[in-house]
Subunit: 109 residues, 2 copies
């Protein structure tokens, strides 16, 4: 039985260990991506589909932002039926960039 | 006696306490600025003039990079005769963005 997700290419991931510091910083230096990361940090893993975020950008831009987050080792995605589900790669990103997510997830700024 | 530095406007600074997280991240997410910050971290305060950095950009671009670093609360500058001297605002930046400079100054990435 064909999965509806089979119509699109599986998302490409980069492990945070293979991510340059500049790439990690640039991925987080964007208000939309910061919001996505913060919302994912507050949600259970694999509980949020890409369409579930209330961000002020269109579908194509959102898809680009998720690609940047994957390339920075921040987000892992998997397709489940029509949904693309997300998890924040918190533990492995922390191991490579200690303190960076903690800083970003503080509420002060 | 007129100081030669009086011919140009004094540099404008922003205290790190007034810097949004996105501004701090964006300031560091650039290879030239990362090099400037790393070299300043390894030098005594006020020991490095703006012209003393071996970075692959012209004078105007370098001036822009320093303006970005000042606006992010990362660098303080003062004019001394013909030289504009720099110091990394390490302590006050650390207090506002704990761990970020430590991460950036690690050598691994």
């Amino acid at each position: 039985m064909a999965d509806r997700s089979s119509h699109r290419a599986a998302p490409v991931h980069t492990h945070p260990a293979d991510v340059p510091l500049l790439t990690a910083l640039a991925a987080l230096a964007d208000p939309v991506r910061l919001q996505l990361v913060r919302e994912l940090a507050g949600a259970a893993e694999w509980s949020r589909g890409c369409g579930s975020f209330d961000v002020p950008v269109g579908k194509a831009a959102l898809s680009h932002h998720f690609a940047v987050l994957r390339a920075a080792g921040l987000v892992e995605q998997r397709d489940q039926g029509p949904k693309r589900l997300n998890r924040l790669r918190r533990e492995e990103f922390d191991a490579c960039f200690p303190g960076l997510l903690d800083l970003v997830l503080r509420e002060e700024h």
